[in-house]
């Protein structure tokens, strides 16, 4: 058994698709317990019984569609008109625009490609230091992770069976904290060159608003609909996808009908990758629960760890390592069912746990050696990977500090839930 386990780990490290590794481990487990292997297909078909799951393909599609249109450009212009008068304006614009865009596109790396392509040259042009720009754009690519309606939040809600509405509320303040800390640091670094992007002009705000008139209702309808309880998250996703399709393809015609199948396929490649892992992990999780693995893990940990604080430290270290190896989606699907019962024993609120989990995994996007954002930025801006590592490091440290605060200050996540 141990030999097989080691072999599977080796295969995973050498790049076997994760879902095949998980499926193989589940099948080995079933085999050992004498359960018919048909069970794995029954579990996988359980994908068709999970609530709210349709939100994932629909939001992902909407996000890819938005990033293929001119919407990123309009978003940057609007944010610039609203925030550009502040000192260090463009850096703040970059942070705010990226956070907003990532929330809607699900932290799949499209932000760096869609917005970075506009912001990076603009920052350069405005005289910000090259290394700062690279770090800023790379970091911003996963910044909106904690804001509704990001995919990881939805996925956590589905897996942990926690109210997705609650998660959407809980993410707001911790997400703002990250933004504020990064903004503060950006201003500090550029204290010699804190020039505003331009004077505040009502005319420019008006023009930018008019230009984005078609997209403006989107956040209000989606977020308003979800927060007020009018839409379930899957309904909000359907409305978003249909609306974005209508606006970008039929009204603004920035994307032709001909391009549509390619964009759909591209977005569904990510969705297929996430959902098939979810499918096979339904089988492996079930096996692990049958085999009492969470209980055994808890027994093992409770000997070592007695207080909630120590547990949280241990959790953070674990998530940091996990984030450096696994992408956020696989990590949620695989690890949340194991961590959830243990965290409950230490009195960690399950909504707060979700925020901590995602915030810590966000660091994984930027952690060498395999952080996804690092590679996308290196590829997109044609910079050696080592340079991207160095440029991103200070941002990574700031974010790490914010994750520590978020972890040990549960009130921050739970504040908006109580009211």
């Amino acid at each position: 058994m141990i030999v097989f386990g080691a072999l599977l780990v080796l295969l995973a490290v050498f790049g076997a698709p994760l879902f095949t590794v998980i499926a193989a481990s589940a099948m080995l487990g079933y085999q050992r317990e004498g359960i018919d292997l048909m069970a794995i297909s029954i579990e996988m078909l359980g994908l068709a019984e999970m609530p709210f799951l349709s939100a994932i393909p629909l939001f992902t599609f909407a996000g890819y569609l938005l990033s293929a249109s001119q919407a990123p450009k309009r978003l940057v212009r609007l944010t610039g008109a609203l925030l550009g008068w502040m000192p260090g304006g463009l850096a703040l614009v970059a942070l705010a625009a990226c956070a907003f865009f990532t929330a809607f596109t699900g932290a799949s790396g499209v932000t760096i490609i869609a917005l970075g392509a506009i912001l990076y040259p603009a920052l350069q042009h405005d005289g910000y230091p090259a290394r700062f720009n690279l770090g800023l754009v790379t970091t911003s690519g996963s910044l909106g992770l904690l804001f509704a309606p990001s995919l990881p939040l939805i996925l956590y809600g589905v897996i942990a069976e926690v109210s997705i509405d609650d998660l959407f509320r809980a993410g707001i303040l911790p997400g703002m904290l990250m933004l504020v800390m990064l903004a503060g640091w950006s201003l500090w670094v550029n204290r010699a060159n804190r020039k505003p992007l331009g004077d505040f002009s009502m005319r420019e705000v008006g023009a930018a608003l008019r230009e984005s008139a078609w997209e403006l209702p989107l956040p209000f309808v989606v977020l308003g609909g979800i927060y007020s309880g009018f839409f379930a998250v899957s309904e909000a996703a359907a409305v978003t996808a249909a609306y974005v399709l209508l606006v970008e393809v039929a009204i603004l015609r920035e994307i032709t009908w001909r391009e549509l199948p390619r964009i759909m396929r591209e977005s569904m490649l990510l969705v297929g990758g996430i959902l098939i892992i979810l499918g096979v992990s339904l089988a492996s999780t079930n096996y692990m629960i049958d085999a009492d693995i969470p209980q055994r893990l808890l027994a093992f940990i409770s000997d070592l760890v007695t207080s909630q604080a120590t547990f949280l430290i241990l959790l953070l270290v674990f998530l940091l390592i996990l984030g450096a190896i696994l992408d956020i989606f696989s990590a949620i699907v695989l690890v949340v069912p194991l961590v959830l019962p243990i965290a409950a024993q230490y009195g960690v609120n399950e909504v707060h746990l979700g925020i901590v989990f995602l915030a810590a995994m966000q660091l994984g996007y930027l952690t060498p050696p395999v952080g996804l954002n690092l590679f996308i930025a290196s590829y997109r801006f044609n910079k050696p990977i080592m340079e991207v590592y160095r440029a991103t490091l200070p941002f990574l440290l700031i974010l790490a500090a914010s994750v520590v605060i978020i972890t040990f200050w549960p009130k921050l996540s739970l504040w908006l839930l109580a009211n």
Binding site: A12, G15, T20, I40, S54, V239, V271, L275, I276
Partner: protein, 182 residues
């Protein structure tokens, strides 16, 4: 999520599977477009009915969930074709392409085998539901919904096998290239 497949050479693109590849890709795209479109229409229609007529179709929610299953599996087949499955991506970034070929062969062979095993067992399961005349979604026979699982697994197994053979061929070619310096 990252594209880590080495770019295909012109030869490989013109190889016999070329036409099959194009046909398969087109079929996947068509199905994905249809399913996504139907999903949007159904969900939006459902909201409209709730808002204006205070009613809705009882089976709509279940049908949406089935569509998610189908999208998941078809997209997963597409992801195997384009080598876009989520994986731990440590070595591919650091190993030179030539050295990465051997693990590539082993890993694809393993993936192909696992998919084949799942395909076999889901085939067994589906034929069982066929035998018992299980139904889902009002009176739809269950096999029509569940049949996608063995089909998708067979296709994925095929794609991984093709990938394995490609890597193997490239490995052999590298060898020969190394022995016969030009």
């Amino acid at each position: 999520m990252t594209e880590n497949s080495p770019p295909l050479t012109a030869d490989e693109l013109r190889a016999p599977p070329g036409r099959l590849e194009r046909l398969g890709t087109a079929l996947e795209n068509a199905l994905l477009v249809l399913l996504l479109g139907a999903m949007m229409c159904l969900a939006v229609g459902q909201i409209a009915m709730r808002m204006f007529f205070q009613s809705g179709l009882i089976w709509a929610d279940e049908l949406l969930k089935v569509m998610v299953l189908w999208i998941a599996l078809i997209a997963s087949v597409a992801a195997s074709r384009n080598q876009r499955h989520l994986r731990i991506d440590i070595l591919s970034h650091f190993l030179p392409a030539r050295i990465a070929r051997l693990p590539g062969v082993i890993v694809s062979a393993f993936a192909s085998l696992v998919c084949a095993i799942i395909a076999w067992h889901s085939w067994r399961y589906v034929s069982l539901t066929l035998e018992f005349n299980d139904t889902v979604l009002l009176d739809t026979p269950a096999w029509m919904v569940q049949g996608i699982l063995p089909v998708a697994c067979v296709l994925m197994s095929y794609h991984f096998a093709v990938d394995c053979i490609r890597n193997l061929a490239a490995l052999v070619r590298d060898r020969q290239g190394a022995q016969v310096p030009q």
